[in-house]
Amino acid sequence: MSSVTIKNLQKSYGAVDVIHGIDVDIAPGEFVILVGPSGCGKSTMLRMVAGLEDISGGTISIGDRVVNDLAPKDRDIAMVFQNYALYPQMTVAQNMGFALEMAGHSKADIARQVARSAEILGLEPLLDRKPANLSGGQRQRVAMGRAIVREPQVFLFDEPLSNLDAKLRVQMRAEIKALHARLGTTILYVTHDQVEAMTMADKIVVLNAGKVEQIGSPLDLYDHPANKFVAGFLGSPAMNFFDATITQNTAQLADGQRVPLGARAGEVAEGQQLTLGLRPETLTLDPAGPLQGRVKLIEPTGSETFIALDIAGQDATVVLKDRLEAAAGDMLRFDVTQGRIHLFAAQSGLAL
């Protein structure tokens, strides 16, 4: 395992800048996930680390080597592609052994290493099959097998689970995490699925439009988002935002409802315009609560109940642990969990 250090990384395609100076430090053995909306430059960044895209500016180091000008094969990385990119006419074993063969390992050596990796991933029964005769989940696993056979310093994953069905994705999430715990290899993992990011990462890098919005541990980002973008991106369902004005230690919404600020009252000035952020699970049903909303839709998932509401003219979501007998159009009142209030500057969106 190696550290990866990315300094002021830039990328432009002709006149179009896609990555605008990114700094990320990855410690040896760390599991780092890049998240962000589609088109924000995640894949581009990963491909630059892999050596598949030229670097327009800045440096990438793996261990203490600057790899900017190294060929992909000399960077000691392995990559798992979103579409797996298995060699169609080779068997699973040949797919897994290809890199070793290229590196000039002996046949016996290749067979031994392939067998060991196949055992780790439970691929033994599939070794003689061609990719066309595998299910999506098995192909995904083979793609991972091909990566781990080489014992690289760094694994690069580009949305490896996005072609799997929901159930398999949950299972593979756990397996990749277990694999990381077992091998201890540094991982740089790209996804646009914030659940994957939250559940798997040691450290999350939130990207937006080619810039870093925030870097930190999953719960740190969840509880202390640096700005409205991060707050809205992480968490499912997403955080509710309300335009508010500070009035007598409360945040007053557009229709006059007031949410008490509690301990945070001292941080803001009377009359200040800001955005109030409330996570769906921090709102609890309470007939005496300060927030009132009109039900638009109720979605029971079995374990939880999602309520889509109109609060002060803005769309909001509440997640309840309990079942709820209510219909569209009903008015409900909610209490706000103390200490879970987020405040953002109205203009810049920065957390206050």
């Binding site: 990559m79 060699y87 290229m102 595998l134």
Partner: protein, 282 residues
Amino acid sequence: MKQMIAATRRDPVLMGLWLSLLVFALIWFAPFVFIVFTSLKSSPEIMTSGAFTPPGALVTQNYATAWNRGGFDHAFFNSVFVTVIKVPLGLMIAALSAYALARMKNRWNKLVLLFIVFGTMIPFQVMLAPLFTLVNSLGLVDTYLGLILPYLAFGIPYQIFILHSFFKSVPKELSEAALIDGASHFTTFRRIFLPITLPVMAALLILDFVATWNEFAMALVILQDADKWTLPLGLMSFQGQFSNEYGQLNAAIVMTVLPAVLVYLIFQRYFVSGLTSGAVKG
């Protein structure tokens, strides 16, 4: 498979298509039947029986006579020699060039491809005279090389054009995975692209084999010594000399066509589609 048969039975459009295919096949097949039948009849039988009546007693003598009288041993050897060198060599060059144009970064790629495609657009009849002048000035008239080089020049552009678009359609992640695995361009070509291109290559090989085997105009211009003639030239000369020996003439035709048919039968089994399936998903 069962479902397909069932669908064929029910769907009137498919039925119609199938029927018209059958009609076309018969139209194409009729002369072939005529030729084979005639080649196996004696001269008197040819005069007295209908063209499509099967031969009474099989007369194989026509073949031996035609072979000897027409000097087919030379022509056959020449054709085999030229084709066996030209077809695989041309395909290899075309495949390598197409790979380079499709997968190796170079800002001139588009221009080169355009140039090559442009080359396919000029009818070669227009170029016959200049071609002869060129081959002549190189002192290659009446040589195998003098024929093989123009054959290559005219065959390769089409193949590059077709293979290039095929290589372009191979997911680029496949090349990238190979690059990360440490494969050179040549290894990537040989180990990954070539195997998945087999069906296309087989198709091109058959087409090119038939075209080269039957090529007449260029060979006529470049080969003047009868010893260097290829089969189509030999056949023409035979026809000129023995045009009333129908049995032998048709035997000569069968001998000329047979290798192309054999090559087709051998290579058509590589026309299996879907070789890339399973490489990537989504």
